[in-house]
């Protein structure tokens, strides 16, 4: 598959698609002033990381967290962490990491720092972030270089998950998967990490249902994949989770360590992790600025809607959310080519013609987002533990994917619903996908759908319903829509959920670092 996808096999009404985009943009525009006028503790911690601050104190508390507490205590947070550090560096003539260490052991305070001319402060802040922003740019270039010199897999990219809890065991599993044909390796995070309001530090060997996302773990896995990629003559992409309460910090860490794909949804945390919506919208905006700048492909999580809602009845909610995620991504200057919008194959396989409806939905997302590396998720909800049946369901999923020109193909596992994948599960899954993709390689160019047939009609209806849903959201606003449980049938309140206490209004003196990405990405 090469993008942009060239076909209109579903005879979708182009004016409907355009209307959906206008509505989605409107919805995002409604809350943009709020997003831009606020910041969060995690945004400020990510700015500290961009200043080069890392490490933990003797008790294991990350320095960025300690510093934010200090700034809060002295009412300096509203001006932005960047302003305080620029001033402190000018005044004490020390680098940010040294100052951070001194703050942590209370040898130094930022209270009553003398003021400096505005121009000097802004210049200093830019100078301070320059080394790390350059490192991020270099990582982006080195990815581009690797992709052109080493070579890239072909779409649909084979995406598999490792989840042992131990980064060194993950490395082994990942290398094996790469040798077996995987193009993208995702390291699943330990369950519960999304709700930690700090990022763990160093290499980790214990986790539940996954491995902690730490900068050192990122580095270890990157190195291993580079190594095996060199040998295989194919660049192996690395994925992690830029989600939860530390979304912006993870974005910085991933950008520095050259992750290639990040799970980064605009609403997932609100709906499925009960993270406060104000916090999430601000955090996702900033994390996406970084992901965009770093050339990282974001993956959105609409597939999850279908784990709680019926996949046929709720198909339009996936599409409507895709439109919103697209506009939120544009707001953060992420181009379509970096928007891995998510969707899934989750219709009950016992429904007659289930496969036809799946094709309709997968093709619909493909045609509406022709430039995006859309991400297709495998069956999970109706996997029963019967591994033989599961393997057949996954085979159908593989067929649907190659037939509809999907870009990122997350492999289903025959042991889904039983345990995190064994090495042999991943192997069987990769073998199946490779076989299907090879033997059906050009099928999609050969087929057209019957005019007004089941597939066309289902796709057209889904689009229509998505437009209707977006019209409704545009009238009531996104906050209200979330409160009414319009996504995944889960209702959240604007002041409910975790992390609201980390949100604050920027003062008029707030030093806005997002402008820096602009300068550098142009």
């Amino acid at each position: 598959m090469t993008r942009p996808y060239p076909h209109n096999k579903l005879h979708l009404a182009l004016d409907h698609i355009a209307l959906a985009r206008t509505l989605a943009k409107d919805i995002v525009d409604q809350i943009t002033p709020f997003i831009l006028s606020h910041s969060t503790v995690s945004v400020e911690r990510s700015i500290l990381r961009l200043l080069g601050i890392q490490g933990v104190d003797p008790e294991g508390i990350p320095l960025p967290n300690i510093i934010i507490d200090h700034l809060k205590e002295h009412h300096l947070l509203e001006e932005g962490a960047a302003r305080s550090f620029a001033k402190a560096c000018l005044h004490f003539k020390l680098d940010p990491q040294t100052l951070a260490g001194q703050l942590a052991c209370r040898e130094r305070s930022f209270e009553d720092l003398p003021d400096f001319p505005e121009e000097q402060i802004v210049d200093k802040a830019i100078t301070l972030t320059q080394p790390l922003l350059e490192q991020i740019s270099n990582q982006r270039q080195s990815r581009e270089h690797c992709l052109s010199s080493l070579g890239d897999g072909s779409e649909p990219y084979l995406y598999v998950i490792v989840a042992t809890g131990n980064i060194y065991e993950d490395v082994l599993q990942a290398k094996v998967a790469a040798r077996q044909g995987a193009d993208i390796i995702a390291v699943i995070r330990s369950t519960g990490q999304s709700l930690l309001d700090y990022v763990p530090y160093g290499p980790t060997t214990e986790g539940f249902g996954g491995t902690f996302a730490t900068q050192e773990n990122f580095r270890i896995m990157r190195e291993a994949l580079d190594e095996v990629g060199q040998e295989l003559g194919r660049y192996i992409r690395l994925t992690n989770y830029c989600s939860g309460l530390c979304m912006p910090e993870i974005a910085v860490m991933g950008a520095l360590e050259r992750l290639d794909v990040m799970l980064n949804d605009s609403m997932y945390g609100i709906i499925f992790r009960d993270i406060n919506m104000q916090r999430t919208f601000i955090d996702q905006y900033f994390s996406r600025l970084i992901n965009g700048f770093a050339g990282i492909i974001i993956n959105t999580g609409e597939d999850n809607y279908l784990t709680t809602s019926d996949a046929l009845e709720a198909a339009h909610t996936v599409l409507a959310s895709n439109f919103l995620n697209e506009q939120f991504a544009f707001l953060s200057r992420i181009p379509e080519e970096q928007q891995g919008l998510g969707h899934a194959m989750e219709i009950n396989p016992d429904v007659p013609n289930a496969f036809l409806y799946e094709i309709a939905q997968a093709q619909l997302i493909r045609e509406i987002f022709p430039r995006s590396p859309i991400k297709y998720m495998p069956p999970t909800k109706f996997m029963t533990g019967d591994i033989f049946r599961g393997h057949v369901q996954d085979t159908l999923f593989n067929v649907a994917s190659i037939m509809t020109g999907q870009s990122i193909h997350l492999l289903g596992m025959l042991t889904e619903a039983l345990h995190t994948p064994l090495m042999q599960d991943r192997f069987l899954s990769l073998e199946s996908a490779k076989l299907v993709f090879k033997s059906l390689r050009h099928l999609q160019e050969e087929i057209r759908f019957t005019t007004e047939g089941v597939i066309q009609q289902h796709a057209q209806t889904t689009l229509q319903k998505a437009v209707g849903m977006l019209e409704e959201i545009q009238k009531i606003g996104l906050f209200k829509a979330l409160e009414q449980g319009m996504f995944a049938e889960i209702s959240r309140k604007p002041t409910g959920g975790r992390g609201l206490d980390g949100v604050f209004a920027k003062s008029s003196k707030y030093l806005n670092p997002s402008a820096w990405f602009d300068v550098r990405s142009s």
């Binding site: 094996v176 040798r179 077996q180 519960g192 249902g209 709680t308 345990h419 090495m423």
Partner: protein, 249 residues
């Protein structure tokens, strides 16, 4: 046809008592003839008879995957098996609502959550949410049940507080993540908390999840446990049965 002797049961391939079984596994040895022999010997030493390695595949990094067929001479006595089971009758939604109305005379209150670090709502949602799962409506849809689903990553304390507040009859606990037996630790924690507070007998305690069954749940100190394939009416039937039994006492 020979008659089956239930006192001596062996696996069935295509002929009674042929003992045929299918195995697939990975060994951490490099692919090759030695690997095949290793797989064969492993099966022999495990007590299987005439193991045949039908395929050996190179997984890379010094690992090999095998599929084997072998025979087993081991017999078990099917007639001596006793599995603890739920003793109540399984009712349908409408019957459950009717019984609550007529026999209990008030609403049945059920609180549920996926506790501690586990972030997966899929199980508790399938049982509790309006929509339910696979055409089986969830507890929220029952007229005579007050179903309160607290979602995922709920601490044991939070769950207990809520159960107290709403005067719950039963507490449902879902555990999906089972890596390194995390679910057992979490489930045990809830029982310990209830015992510590002297409230173990106050609530019916029910566990659910992909690796949970009745026997395991009983062992952990729960009143019941439900595994894959469970629907809302299964849980509701059980809770109602026990609540009614308590009323009679």
């Amino acid at each position: 046809m020979p008659t089956i002797d239930y006192r001596q049961i062996r696996p069935y391939g295509d002929t009674l008592d042929d003992g045929i079984i299918q195995l697939s596994f990975t060994l951490p040895v490099p692919f090759g003839e030695e690997a095949q022999e290793a797989a064969r010997r492993w099966a022999l030493q495990s007590g299987f008879w005439d193991p045949k390695v039908v395929v050996a595949l190179d997984l890379g990094e010094g690992f090999t995957f095998f599929v084997l067929y072998a025979c087993s001479t081991v017999c078990i006595d099917f007639t001596s098996i006793e599995v603890p089971k739920l003793s109540h009758e399984r009712l349908e939604k409408s019957e459950i609502d009717l019984l609550i109305r007529t026999l209990l005379g008030r609403k049945l209150v059920i609180v549920g959550a996926c506790i501690e670090s586990d972030a997966h709502t899929v199980g508790i949602d399938a049982i509790m949410n309006m929509k339910g799962y696979n055409g089986h409506k969830g507890l929220e849809s029952y007229h005579e049940i007050d179903a309160i689903n607290l979602g995922s990553q709920v601490s044991c304390e939070e769950l207990l507080t809520k159960a107290h507040e709403v005067l719950a009859d039963a507490i449902l606990i879902s555990q999906v993540v089972t890596q390194k037996s995390l679910h057992l630790q979490n489930l045990t924690r809830m029982v310990e908390l209830l015992e510590l507070e002297g409230l173990r007998d106050r609530f019916l305690l029910v566990a659910g999840g992909p690796r949970i069954n009745y026997e395991l749940a009983k062992e952990l100190g729960y009143d019941a446990g439900f595994g894959p394939g469970t629907y809302a009416e299964d849980v509701a039937s059980f809770v109602l049965d026990r609540v009614l039994a308590r009323c009679v006492k």
